[in-house]
Symmetry: C2
Subunit: 573 residues, 2 copies
């Protein structure tokens, strides 16, 4: 549109193309509710006030807020591709995400990031893609790819690449290691996300000085306030497993507000369906006493300010027409979601159907020779280290237990709650298998295998018989990725995750339904009732950076000692 | 410094180079006071907390705040060059200014902007230089230069050029005129300042949509709140003439705070000396009940956020070491000012002396042929339009008066308070002289001439005898710019402003002293006691965009009718 016409329409001398009449607008700048019309041209808001339009939509006094922004999310954790992910979250009012494709990058490197960019572009969702900074996350497991500073330099100017993903290697940063500092230098003029659980004091200063500007790992108000004081923006995270919003709300007040935003990090489709997405963070905040407009600010303007998204986060002249329409300030559930001026969701349903982009090269990533597979666990003696679950937490306990052996081979014991865990390297068919024992899952007579295993995503197999473990693994290999539950009776339930072994191109409903059914079966098999999500609980048992005892394809790993250890205890233990 | 060492010092493993112990830090992020040490390496703050330093400075519990930012200033209004200006304002705690060299650009165009950049670079002051958007401000007077969109394109990438200066032509913006929209398009990814007194409603929407992000012309809380609601940042201005802070403070609260900042716009050296600079805005806010830390936020973090100055506005890891040390939160007067980690002011004195940069080409800008000069005012009849002063305001009244004439020539009348005003074109020796009459100055028996006359800066001459007017003008021409006061007794007092006729390279004390003496003489001559600053009062009589009656080198100008008019009234008037 020519400038003269645009100005004539914004200033009301001509009718605007589209006008929303009678909105109750949540003004994020003054934290007031205004009764106004909102005028649009194309994807842009040209003004608020009293307007006449060629097309008018009467909102009849409904509330209008800017579209929500998820400040940090791994789309892969939804187990659906970005197209399906958009359909999953946009009905809940999220119109923009800062996405870190850390998981797919660990499997397929730059190829995976390019794939995510291509998928994201097909959706109405704004996806600001970070380049993962920490691939692989550790050197204690075999990953599918490495992203060096040279790799980051090579892709940083691709369309859609926005900033540097969560910097996990805080000891590396603080010790001045060149690899991570090269990455920080390359991306120094872009947003750089942090990940610094437990970091504080002068070490935190060094981490911030290095260029890291956010953290989403706060679990206490003290941690949050220290970060805000030192100039960081802090995400209040509410994911499937990590639920921090309620604990952090006491630190939210009018003084700190502008430095706080929301994220989900990792959230499974069934949780999104049941609870919502960023609107769930907002609603939790409202429930616990935060002013609804302040809560909305955290989900909109604050996130936009944090990431320098000048045309997002508010409803004002010149901003993108991303907004939601809803009825109640007690709990926000959008009736309508507009993205770039177009109605994309109505009554919690996505109105556009996007066929996923296909890249066959990403659908053959489970590279295991089945003939090599052997889950036999030889033990020198029967007093062993066992991983103990901390329920609904990705940390674990380091237990010592006595187990049954026969001729130096571990034997399952129906009387205890210990199961065998295997991590099967799946990127280069190396034949690496890490074997260990876990206590706490509670189910019997079967095995669960999955190609999601943080962060290198080797195949994790948990079971009480080698036969079932092999059957579950074979199923995952045959599907070229996914989750398989093999029962003693021969039945196998499976969810195929063919894209890098992490995501499916199928609609998110398939994931919700299949995982729901598998969880039901696991409950019947005896799954510990306190375990909210057995798949997440399993997927993090290989993450060697979170205490205390983990298992990688190279064996048992003691996180506190920061080294691999034997399963068998030493004499002095 | 290598990264390893920097990280070791930030994290306290090695001693930092410089540590300020026992600060009471005004934390702009949480609005709290923290007792901390502040560690520096070079020009950068590496951390706050408990530090040991190679050099330590014990602040003994003194307050520390970030250096202040003036969000909008015309350095030329101080009548000293940027080097001298830095010495004038930095002792009051201002360490960064967003400067619009609108005045010198009206005289000398791009050359003047380059000159200002060179001067600014010699000072410790951070000068973020805007390209003036509105040169000339109007087409009703003869200016020394024009800055077209092509000119702006040509200089926009010069080192130090920051954004687009105040967009004055709001009707042009709203009507979609190509010249101003071309400028807006060229600078669309940079900060763009506004100037929109009285603009509101849908016209304001169009103005913001066009890309303007700030306004410093608010005089009422309604105007301020409307701008904030629509996404603008608003400056609370306190200059020599325009004093808005007190009127706007009722709109400052915890909800609006983050969108508000301070500026001076135009402030004379004697006012800066007496009151202070941005600290005066802060102190006024404190005096009228704003929380001191909130007031400091407006002068620091908010301005930095508004202009995207990521490394300024706070004391935190990675920020530039710009800060002030002071004793009282009731009224902030820094004892010490640090800029880029160096002590630059102590006890209200600048510690570094910077010799001004010299560009001889800018010192010959008063181009008037004295032989052409004739102040004779011919009148067809004696009922005439007279400019009436509004005291301490740049607006004027349109009066009708009867005056004394002799053979069709205006005669001064000792009995009235009317003086003759001339605007002598001085850029191209065109011989243009605009002649008019003014009521309200009150002084007698002399003439005041000056080469400051907004915005084209022709020579303004005010007097009650043609002889004294000629003498004062000749003095300004001989000095190649300045202010000259000629008395009937033959005495002439003068302040040379040799740089573009606007600024002197002499220290600011010279300006303060000379103007003080001249003002004293004017008082003796009868200057109306209510006129705070006769020089400012005179300098704006040529500004043809502010109501109601003004005089340019092309004649009397009726701002409401937006056209030149005759001095003599028409029969129906």
């Amino acid at each position: 549109m020519d400038t003269k016409t645009l100005m004539a329409r914004a200033s009301g001398k001509e009718k605007a193309t589209k006008v929303f009449k009678n909105a109750r607008l949540l003004n994020v700048y003054t934290k007031e509710i205004e009764k106004v019309d909102i005028a649009l041209e194309g994807d842009t808001i040209i003004g608020t006030g009293t307007y006449e339009g060629k097309e008018t939509i009467d909102l009849e006094g409904a509330y209008v807020a800017p579209g929500f922004i998820d400040g940090h999310v791994h789309i892969e954790s939804s187990m659906v591709t970005p197209e399906r992910f958009a359909s999953l979250i946009m009905p809940h009012g999220t119109t923009t995400v800062i996405a870190d494709p850390h998981e797919i990058a660990n499997v397929t490197g730059k190829k995976g990031i390019r794939y995510m960019l291509k998928c994201a572009k097909r959706t109405p969702l704004s996806v600001k893609m970070m380049v993962p900074s920490s691939v692989p996350a550790t050197t204690f497991e075999t990953s599918g790819a490495t992203l060096s500073s040279k790799d980051i330099d090579a892709i940083k100017d691709l369309e859609g690449i926005f900033g540097l993903g969560e910097v996990m290697n805080d000891p590396g940063v603080i010790n001045g290691e060149s690899d991570i500092h090269e990455k920080l230098t390359i991306m120094k003029d872009r947003p750089i996300d942090g990940h610094a659980p437990g970091l504080s004091g002068l070490d935190l200063n060094a981490y911030i000085l290095a260029g890291v500007m956010t953290d989403h790992e706060c679990e206490t108000t003290d941690a949050l306030l220290e970060r805000v004081k030192k100039g960081m923006y802090v995400h209040l995270r509410e994911g499937s497993q990590t639920r921090n919003v309620k604990d952090l709300l006491p630190a939210v007040n009018k003084n700190t507000l502008s430095r706080l935003l929301f994220c989900t990090d990792d959230k499974h489709p069934e949780d999104i369906k049941q609870e919502g997405h960023i609107n769930y963070n907002v609603n939790l905040a409202i429930k616990y006493g935060i002013d609804p407009i302040d809560a909305v600010c955290m989900a909109t303007l604050n996130a936009a300010n944090c990431y320098g998204l000048k045309d997002l986060g508010a409803i004002a002249p010149g901003k993108k027409a991303d907004f939601i329409v809803f009825d109640s300030l007690k709990s926000i559930h959008p009736n309508m979601v507009y993205k770039n001026g177009e109605l994309v969701c109505e009554n919690k349903k996505m109105l556009v159907d996007i066929e996923p982009y296909q890249d066959k090269a990403l659908e053959h990533t489970v590279n295991i020779k089945m003939d090599d597979l052997d889950f036999t666990l030889f033990l020198k003696h029967n007093r062993v280290h066992v991983i103990g679950l901390n329920e609904n937490n990705i940390t674990t306990k380091k237990l010592i237990k006595s187990v049954k052996t026969k001729e130096g081979i571990y034997q399952n014991n129906e009387e205890d709650d210990i199961m065998k865990l295997a991590v099967v390297e799946r990127h280069r068919a190396s034949g690496n298998i890490g074997l260990g024992l876990v206590e706490g899952f509670g189910f019997k007579h079967g095995a669960l295998a999955m190609s999601i295993g943080h962060d290198s995503h080797n195949v994790l197999v948990l079971g009480d018989s080698d036969e079932a473990m092999e059957r579950a693994t074979r199923n995952v290999v045959d599907m070229q990725g996914g989750i398989a539950l093999a029962e003693r009776n021969g039945r196998v339930q499976a969810l195929q995750l063919e894209v890098a072994g992490l995501m499916t191109k199928a609609p998110h409903k398939t994931v919700e339904k299949t995982l729901g059914e598998m969880k039901e079966t696991l409950r019947i098999m005896g799954l510990n009732e306190t375990i909210r999500d057995p798949f997440i609980q399993l997927a993090f048992l290989s993450l060697a950076v979170v205490p205390k005892l983990k298992l990688t394809d190279r064996g048992l790993f003691d996180v506190d000692a920061f080294k691999h250890i034997d399963i068998e205890t030493k004499e002095d233990e």
